[in-house]
Structures are given as C-alpha cells and as structure tokens.
Point group: C2
Chain length 148, copies 2
DNA sequence: GAGAGAAACTTCCTATCGGGAAGTAGGCAC
DNA sequence: GTGCCTACTTCCCGATAGGAAGTTTCTCTC
C-alpha cells in the first residue's frame, strides 16, 4: 500500500470497486451518498444556499455553517437526522466539525476538499431537479391522463 | 397565474423552485432522485454496467434492458423495490417501459432523453464513489483511531 | 393431460428506519 | 434560583424497505 504511487492506487481502485456489487464497499458508499439529507447538506455547505437561479452558475462559495444555520436552511430536516448525517459525513472525512467554546457553545461545519469534490456532483443533482421540474410535472400529467 | 406575462412567470420561476424548501416540488423531486435504487438503475440503463476499466473511459452506450437483466446486475435489489422504482421513473418520464408479448412476456426498459440527462449526474456519483473509496476508508480509520 | 418451468410482477409479514417531541448539559443573565 | 441559549440525545410510533411466497399465462416435457 504505502509503496504504491497515488496514480497506481487510483488505477487499481477503479478495477477493484464495482458499485453494482452488493458487498462492495463502494456500493455502500454510493448508498450513503445517494441520500436526500446528504445531498442537501452538501449543497448547503457548498454555498448554493440561495434560491438558485438555474442559468446563473454563480461561483462556489463553500462556507462554514453552524448547526442552527443548516437546520434553518434545510427546512424539514429533523434534528436527529441532521446530527446523524453530519456525523457520518464527518466520519467519512467529507466535512470537519469545529467546536468553539463560546458563550453558548458554537459548532460549525465545513466541507473538506473531498467533500467539495462530491459537492460538484450533488450541486448538479440539485440544479437538475430545479431545471427539469416542469418537464417532470408535465410527464406525470401526461402519464396519468393516458392511464386513466 | 394565467394572467401573468411570460417575463413575470420566468422571474417568478426563478424564485419558485428552491430545493431547500420542504414544500417545493423540486425538493420532492430531489428527494426522489437522491435514492440509491434510482441512482443504480440509471447507471445500469445508462450503460456503465461493467466493472469499469481504468483507462477506458468507454462512451455511454445507453441500452434497453430487461427486468431480469437489471435485477441480475443490481445485486441486492428486491423485486418489490425494483418494480416500484422503475414505475416511478416511468411515471416521471425518465424511462420507457415496453412490453413485448413473446413466449414468456418480455418487458424492456430504456432511458428517455430526460433520463439520459440525469444519468450524467448519477454516473458522476457512482464514479466518485469508486474513485474516492480508498480515501474515505482511510478517513474512517483515522477518525476511529482518534476517538478511541 | 398433469405437472414443471420461466418472466415479471404482486402480496403479505416483519424488521428497520425516519420524524416529532420531549429531555439534557453547561454557562450566563436577571 | 429560574430561565434561556445552542447543540444535541433519547424515546416512541408510524412509515417504509426487504424477504419470501403466491400469481398469471403460456409452452414444453413426460
């Protein structure tokens, strides 16, 4: 392991990990990142926290956010799932958790480089959902009228 | 709504779809596509069904697949979830379902253009999971040893 | 002509999971 | 001391995913 160059390791990884196989670690990883809260949290920390103009590819402004900020932005997330998801992301090295012993304790979360690389993917997902929303709604109506 | 001019509608649409809002349709859509089976099925139908050779960034070969083919490829999926997910994807217009009345009936599924556009995203997710697997595993070990 | 078998589901039961609400810790303000 | 603040943690329950067995329609075998 330690004798391999990074490039070699990466090359081998591609053959070894196949996300279609149930037992493969990469499958478990894919299962975990294919989660609505993971996607939303990464989008939030990645900086696309505005309403998000579809066309306007505003530059990433990955920023540190406090627990309560995230909870306020991701309307509908329960405290339990937020904490749980943040912990698992920290565990996987996608974000860092920093505790500042201020008056009431302050905890802030920030994407790591690894988390940022995944953010590029989740950002695409979110933007896809927003840009193709109308099309999907039309398809649903179409489908429902055909089958009725 | 119908009395609005196109420009006004467009202006409002920009604010209307925000995946961070719990009630927004795009949030529901994002929740649905941020699902492990959705991601895996799209990857399967999108054509990256091989283990993924290192150098060969093989071109997409989106192909029609039969129910049993998908079920065999996505090891671990239950028939119930496979059927359910395929139906919802068909409902949203991401794929087509074709029944051929052969000897034992043949049902084949194929991505639509819309599904194909989402496939670009899910493909990225899968490839991310496979390429960064080693890094994540290392982070986990690191984290566990720190906290123990 | 009575199974057996194959593809694509469908149904039922149970284990697991997510959401809601209430409880906790530790420090400060009143 | 009472209450409030943030960031959780715990408990309970309804929703959901998974496993396995049943269903349908045809054809092929014995």
């Amino acid at each position: 392991m330690t004798t391999m160059k990074a490039a070699q390791k990466r090359a081998q990884a591609k053959v070894e990990y196949n996300a279609f196989l149930a037992g493969c670690p990469s499958r478990q990883l894919l299962d975990r990142i294919s989660d609505k809260w993971v996607v939303l949290i990464l989008c939030a920390l990645g900086g696309d926290n505005s309403a998000g103009q579809p066309g306007a590819a505003h530059a990433d402004a990955p920023k540190a956010m406090r627990y309560s900020e995230i909870s306020r932005l991701l309307i509908g997330v329960s405290q339990k799932m937020l904490t749980q998801t943040l912990r698992s992301l920290e565990h996987d090295g996608l974000l860092t958790r920093t505790v500042t012993p201020t008056v009431p304790v302050t905890v802030s979360y920030e994407l790591t480089d690894l988390g940022l690389s995944l953010h590029h993917m989740t950002r695409g997902l979110r933007s896809w959902a927003q840009t193709h929303m109308a099309e999907v709604l039309a398809n649903r109506e179409n489908y429902d009228s055909r089958t009725s």
